[in-house]
């Protein structure tokens, strides 16, 4: 594990990112785009990784993808419980490293215990102060939230944390668990065994998970569209699609293809004349009209009269494409 700077880091980091607007001011844009959530550490951490890649081309974690997962906090039995939904992981993303980042409050040192002074309230009573007891240790517990009853609630991991001398961010490597379990719904609890003072509230110092992965599909053609070309920004149910914030009225007129009448079949319209002569003739001359290469289709006789061979009933209605041998030879030669 490594310890990140104290929690004031997000603000300093965000300010830093705003100041060091690089050549195309990208980080500043990102901070603006993130809005209020730019204050939480996970956004700052991701911005830092992006800056590092943009400047140095350093592949984050040796892969081509970093996914961050903020926790959703709920209070269970007066204790803060953090829920993680990792379902946006893609099947093609091979996990390289996973880290769990959390902020530990400055330890509340137990009150210094005063020995009984003897005699009580005497002027020069010698009171020896007992050294404070050790700060309470914290336990980090991961549980599975999968639908599968066999593993639901199963303890997926536990770590004992030595409380740091002052409040700061820490990171724990949970790669083995993340790669092994394949759990996509997890809960985490930082339990110091002591009663929480008051009801814990969500804060920008909530824990988060970073997953460094290699997306095997990213080299596929059009991989950028798979993850970035999204739904239509106007929700389907929207009666009046709102104009995109800065789009002018679209001058283009939508045209539907005019379909002339119902397409019943693939006959060629307007070709109803009979062939000028038997379609099997093997000769023709250019000066003659081109014989219509169409021959009336023999309707598929029904099962019962298929036995009566040779009963040809021509229906002059539909035509098919057919060419005489000469034309076929010429075409083959071509």
């Amino acid at each position: 594990s490594h310890t990140a700077p104290a929690w004031s880091a997000p603000l300093a980091a965000v300010r830093g990112l705003r100041e060091d607007q690089d050549s195309h001011g990208s980080a500043g844009d990102a901070v603006a785009a993130l809005g209020p959530s730019a204050q939480d550490m996970v956004a700052v951490h991701m911005l830092r990784l992006y800056e590092k890649y943009s400047r140095q081309g350093a592949r984050p974690g040796g892969g081509n993808t970093v996914r961050s997962f903020r926790a959703r906090m709920e209070v269970v039995d007066q204790k803060a419980m953090y829920f993680f939904n990792l379902t946006s992981m893609q099947d093609s993303e091979m996990i390289l490293t996973a880290t769990f980042h959390f902020y530990t409050e400055p330890p509340r040192w137990p009150q210094v215990r005063e020995a009984m002074c003897k005699p009580p309230r005497a002027k020069n009573a010698s009171c020896r102060l007992l050294p404070p007891g050790p700060p309470a240790r914290q336990h980090l517990l991961f549980r599975s939230l999968s639908q599968n009853s066999a593993t639901q609630g199963l303890l997926r991991g536990a770590m004992t944390l030595v409380p740091p001398p002052r409040g700061l961010w820490q990171a724990k490597d949970i790669s083995a668990r993340a790669r092994g379990d394949g759990e996509l719904l997890l809960s985490a609890q930082l339990d110091s065994g002591e009663k929480e003072l008051g009801v814990p509230k969500p804060s920008p110092r909530g824990p988060y998970i970073l997953i460094y992965a290699n997306d095997l599909a990213i080299a596929e053609p059009n991989s950028v569209a798979v993850t970035l070309q999204r739904y239509d920004p106007f929700p389907a149910g929207d009666p009046e699609p709102r104009a995109a914030p800065n789009s002018s009225a679209d001058p283009r007129v939508r045209r539907a293809a005019q379909v002339s009448g119902p397409l019943l079949d693939n006959e060629l319209p307007g070709l109803d004349e009979r062939p000028a002569h038997a379609p099997h003739a093997h000769h023709y001359h250019k000066h003659e009209l081109w014989p219509s290469p169409f021959r009336a289709l023999k309707p598929r006789p029904g099962r019962k009269d298929r036995r009566k061979k040779g009963q040809d009933t021509f229906l002059g209605s539909s035509q098919v494409l057919d060419f005489d041998e000469k034309t076929m030879q010429k075409a083959r030669r071509k």
Partner: protein, 110 residues
């Protein structure tokens, strides 16, 4: 654009994610220099268009007219660069992905 060279070469193009409707979830960069390739791959092709052997043969066949209807080779990207994109996924979690082949470094006739 008018004084652009006729021969196949890289042309400037800056892509703004707002123009393609992605700025709602793409956090950074807001725009990037993508470039594009355009220009002729006529016979005889100069070395600068770095033709493949096949493109050279194709352009000769076209110039000689042995077989009608053969087009000239195409001017396409040759070397390309990756781009790191910071965006929000469907659950509004921040994601960083490094996409390959997002901007053109050199063009060539293929």
């Amino acid at each position: 654009q008018w004084d652009e060279p006729r021969v196949c070469s890289r042309r400037y193009l800056k892509v703004d994610f707002a123009d393609i409707g992605w700025s709602e979830w793409v956090l950074s960069p807001k725009s990037f220099d993508a470039y594009y390739c355009a220009g002729a791959c006529e016979f005889p092709m100069p070395k600068v268009v770095r033709p493949s052997n096949h493109a050279t043969i194709q352009s000769i066949v076209r110039a000689v007219g042995i077989v009608p209807g053969i087009p000239e080779p195409c001017c396409v990207p040759d070397k390309m660069n990756s781009l790191g994109v910071l965006f929000l996924d469907e659950n509004r979690n921040v994601v960083l992905k490094v996409y390959p082949n997002m901007s053109v470094e050199t063009c060539a006739c293929r």
